[in-house]
Symmetry: C2
Subunit: 647 residues, 2 copies
């Protein structure tokens, strides 16, 4: 028996359609394009997917919608919704099942915003040694007296003109070869992969080759279309990772992948479809077709890596966190459904450890700490935090669960870096007055004018914590100083909160605040990073770090002083704290353009010693101490005069 | 604007459905399963697809069917249909377009019969050295202190237990590896291809491996499921090549492949679907699943080879008849859509020349003439005829267009070897009375009882020609001796004809005859074969052949004496004319089971010198002389006393 179907209409978007009885509102939204935010992936733990069940008869739609059309799971709804909201028909979309026709209003703050993608390619000097090279050949035409096969004829020409022998031929080449060699009078250009396999043949002389480097982030996916002959980046394209609908962080994705029969396939299809779109758009920008792309290099964290390759990721999420494969993988693009040149390979960079993925290897080969004398700390702040520390003598890596606080999740008014997000904050230490800047608006706010703030993104949260600490609104331990005189400080609720943007300045009609719980979330996140670095310093037996490299797009947008003040990393000369942008993507680009970098990646990824922080004996103590701003006991000579005097 | 749709009903099958305005009846039959015979592939040249347009209102179907519902192309219809048949509503299905609702009756003789597939595996002693071998390994479990990737862990175990290092890993293996290695406590069996690539992993100890050898004939496809460890044939399965609907012979298939945008894809999909079905059925017979098949070896003529691989075959059909590739091809089964083990390869045997394909290479490595001292002639009679001649010193091959006469096409009452076909014929030299045997009926007919004859298949045609020649009904030149007294000899029509089966003995209600045109077609076919052999003897400078090997299923069913009498090949001791069955399929099986045979095939295929008969200066003369029964001038000492004395 098939289940009954119900009509669902989302407002204000007007998206409508039918869903099966029992589907959640979030599932309906995914199916029909309702664009409901879902940070936790539908587990009922983030509270970001509040929607309102519109009640009454909707003549416009012919629907008699009522709160009885849905059945909500009490526990999670009551945790995130007030009794009044519940009475008014608000529910969590992921915890509410549809049992009748229904009209659903998605409030502004629950709508999924198009994230601002900040993953430009950094200018880097890359030596060229691409995997795919092109060779022009002229063949003697086939005759009745010389009717050697087209493939053998081509290979003979390659041998005589370019001294290349014994090449494998990708079967897709054979399928079109007869037409191609005859099209321009037995003249053709051959694409050869790693000097050993013919992966493509084009009629006539077409010696320029193109490749696509890809960085698959948990949240953002970026592609860099490069000329393999010059190394030039011809076009960049990026999008939100389409898997975001299935869960915001790595653990939610793993959860989704192992759920049901097709979870993994759905996630894989989503990213492949996204990459095909990136390839199409990037190629179009450069005046090319997608099939002109003859090589690809891909980085991503271990979970993105596994899902991209269609590998069951469940073991990445449970001890001992073993990946399916450590080494780099070369796979035919077509095997994954990628619609570039039919014979093209995708090179997927190696993995360091269960939580230190190919993205970190990208950072590694881009920054080359193994060629440095200085003691370097590389921090890659993504949805997951990764650390590399050391120099040419020894390198350690580790990974820490920062939680999603830096991405705006688990923060009362947290949001992703999309238009309307407060990204920069200054607090006057005396007046406690606040200035802030919103994405999509170049001006700082200078009063109470409405500049459309909707929430606070990661870099704004860094600033908020640092500025509140420097202004004495919170103390070293993160506690609110409730004695402060400011109408921005609210003490009357369950917990103290500080108003960053007043209701009138916002697009959501209510104060945007930072509360005690938000500060605790930031402490946990930064404490995890700091203690990781501290434990690695102990392991290396070093007392100081010469240079801090902030990798990842996020690292380019946070205020370095805010990061230092809250104690994201141990003491370092602020002049030697540098942001290098999307180094993971740069590493992918280097691997695309230079096979020596691929070999280097495989070699170096195995040399880096992974430190599993959670099993280190001093982990708990180090973590507890690191929860303080900037640290309970460590000295910060470079912040002297900046940090408030401790009593 | 979409075209109007018409309802079409086929009788007596009752298959019905809608087709677009303008579709031919043959196209409608292919779409709806009307099972109309189509030997020429829809070109209007074989006349086998006669159907009757039923006229009048068909209340049963709610259709007002009339001859006006169709529009026939006059030329071809008038060639094959009498004025009375035309008046009665008979038309050629391929030359008649549908423009209204219509009921179509398919007469018995136009129905596609399920061919009797005669491709059993021959018992042969095959040395075992399969490409895929299985290795059992036990791994130390992953722990927090040893979290090496599953793939590297597996490889380490292979290296320590079996000394196998540096193996490539097929990416499909990675997708399931994490689950597989943990399923039976870190014990697994690894399938390794050619000692260099891991193509599959199964949990626990599963050391038996299975492979499928396939012979893709133009008309018949056969698969042999083998145990790779013992060589045993566990199951055989065969079917008509599903491409037959698109054209009976190689040239029609090429024509279809290059026609329109999707011709080649349609043909490829048809054979792949067929092979998947063969794999499924064969596996089921052996109590296995299709995915237990870890290796495949395939033979087929050049056209079947190209279409199977999705290669544009157009150049095979025009001078200089160059194939896309001569060498063997190893391609992932999944790339072709074959649903065996996901990591499995298909080994496609090499090609000798434009018309001498991988099937002939299969014959070559099965019969090994290159290891013989005797002068051998190997005749492979399929839809196309192929010859190999020589011994260990030198080998020649050639190909001749026998035309489809041996398959029953272009013969008035010719048909494929399916139930109802007359397969054996004896004619009393004195009375000119005929005895015959029909497929599906073990008894010879001994009078005029109805035993359901529908036509004559290839072996019956051989017998008819030989017996008519020996009985003096036709002379050495193939002319009918019209002076003979027999009511079986009809002289009153356009051309003389001889009745093999009287109307009462048939299922089609009319005499089954052999006419002058039929004899001419046989002469052309056998003349092509004979002259090919004659030219090759001249090239080798030899006067006699020591042994004739009849390869191909067809060769096993023809009467050797009939073949000798009509002059299919030059004189040879009848005791040394042997039929070896489907040697091409045997060759595929050998290549499946022994990689040395694959290497041998690649080497020997290049050594055989192809003779392009049509450009030989003595071709015309040799051909003309060979049209005679058995030959105009050659001596046949071994047929002395059997052949009629020539005046």
């Amino acid at each position: 028996m098939t289940k009954p179907q119900h009509t669902v209409i989302f407002q204000p978007s007007g998206r409508r359609g039918k869903v099966e009885d029992g589907a959640t509102i979030l599932e309906a939204s995914r199916k029909l394009g309702g664009s409901i935010e879902s940070v936790c992936g539908g587990k009922g733990t983030c509270g970001k997917c509040k929607v309102k069940i519109e009640q009454g008869r909707f003549h416009k739609y012919g629907i008699n919608s009522s709160i009885d059309s849905v059945e909500a799971i009490a526990a999670h709804n009551e945790e995130f919704l007030t009794p009044k909201q519940l009475r008014d028909g608000y529910r969590l979309a992921c915890q509410t099942h549809i049992h009748g026709d229904v009209v659903i209003f998605v409030p502004e703050e629950s709508r999924k915003a198009q994230q601002v993608v900040r993953k430009e390619a950094t200018a880097r000097d890359i030596k060229l040694k691409p995997a795919v090279k092109k060779y022009y050949v002229e063949m003697p035409p086939a005759t009745l007296h010389d009717s050697l096969g087209d493939s053998e004829r081509l290979q003979a020409a390659l041998a005589s003109a370019h001294k290349m022998e014994g090449l494998k031929v990708d079967y897709t080449v054979l399928t079109t070869l007869p037409g191609v060699v005859r099209q321009e009078d037995w003249k053709a250009t051959v694409s050869v992969w790693k000097g050993r396999e013919i992966i493509g043949v084009a009629a006539g002389k077409k010696e320029r080759g193109y490749g696509l480097a890809v960085d698959i982030g948990t949240t953002t996916v970026a592609g860099y279309l490069c000329d393999l002959g010059s190394g030039e980046v011809l076009a960049t394209d990026a999008m939100m990772n389409p898997q975001v609908s299935y869960g915001e962080d790595v653990m939610s994705r793993i959860g989704y992948a192992v759920k049901g029969k097709n979870g993994l396939k759905q996630l894989q299809r989503a990213i492949i479809k996204g990459l095909n779109e990136i390839a199409r758009r990037a190629a179009a920008k450069a005046g090319l077709r997608r099939t002109d792309i003859v090589d690809m290099a891909v980085v991503g964290n271990t979970c993105m890596h596994h899902i991209f390759l269609g590998i069951d990721p469940r073991n990445l999420g449970r001890a001992p966190f073993t990946p399916a494969v450590h080494h780099s993988v070369d796979v035919k693009a077509r095997d994954l459904g990628l619609k570039v040149a039919p014979g093209a390979y995708v090179h997927v960079l190696p993995i360091e450890a269960g939580f230190v993925g190919a993205d970190n290897v990208g950072v590694l080969i881009a920054e080359e700490p193994y060629n440095q004398d200085e003691m370097v700390l590389i921090i890659d702040i993504g949805t997951n935090g990764e650390l590399i520390m050391g120099n040419r003598n020894k390198l350690l890596s580790s990974s820490c669960a920062t939680g999603p606080a830096f991405e705006g999740a688990e923060i009362r008014h947290g949001m992703r870096a999309s238009p309307g997000a407060i990204e920069k904050i200054k607090i006057d230490p005396k007046t406690k007055e606040v200035e802030f800047k919103v994405i999509g608006n170049d001006a700082w706010n200078t009063g109470t004018k409405a500049i459309g703030a909707r929430g606070i993104c990661g870099s704004g949260i860094f600033d908020a914590a640092a500025q509140m600490f420097l202004a004495g609104i919170i103390d070293k331990g993160g506690r609110f100083n409730t004695g402060i005189k400011s109408d921005r400080l609210h003490n009357d609720g369950d917990e103290p909160e500080f108003v960053i943007a007043r209701a009138a300045e916002t697009a959501i009609g209510q104060d945007i605040v930072v509360c005690q719980k938000d500060i605790r979330a930031i402490q946990l996140a930064k404490g995890a990073m700091y203690s990781g670095a501290r434990i690695m310093m102990n392991k290396l037996g070093i007392a100081k770090i010469d240079r801090v490299i902030l990798a990842g797009a996020f690292g380019s947008y946070i205020d370095k002083m805010s990061a230092a003040v809250i104690g994201l990393f141990p003491d370092c000369d602020p002049a030697r704290v540098v942001a290098v942008g999307n180094a993971a993507g740069d590493g992918a680009r280097m691997a695309l353009l230079n096979t020596d970098k691929r070999a280097e990646a495989d070699k170096r990824a195995r040399e880096v010693a992974y430190v599993e922080l959670t099993i280190e004996p001093d982990f708990n103590k180090a973590f507890t101490q690191a929860l303080n701003f900037p640290h309970q006991t460590d000295e910060f000579p470079h912040l002297k005069g900046i940090l408030p005097e401790q009593k």
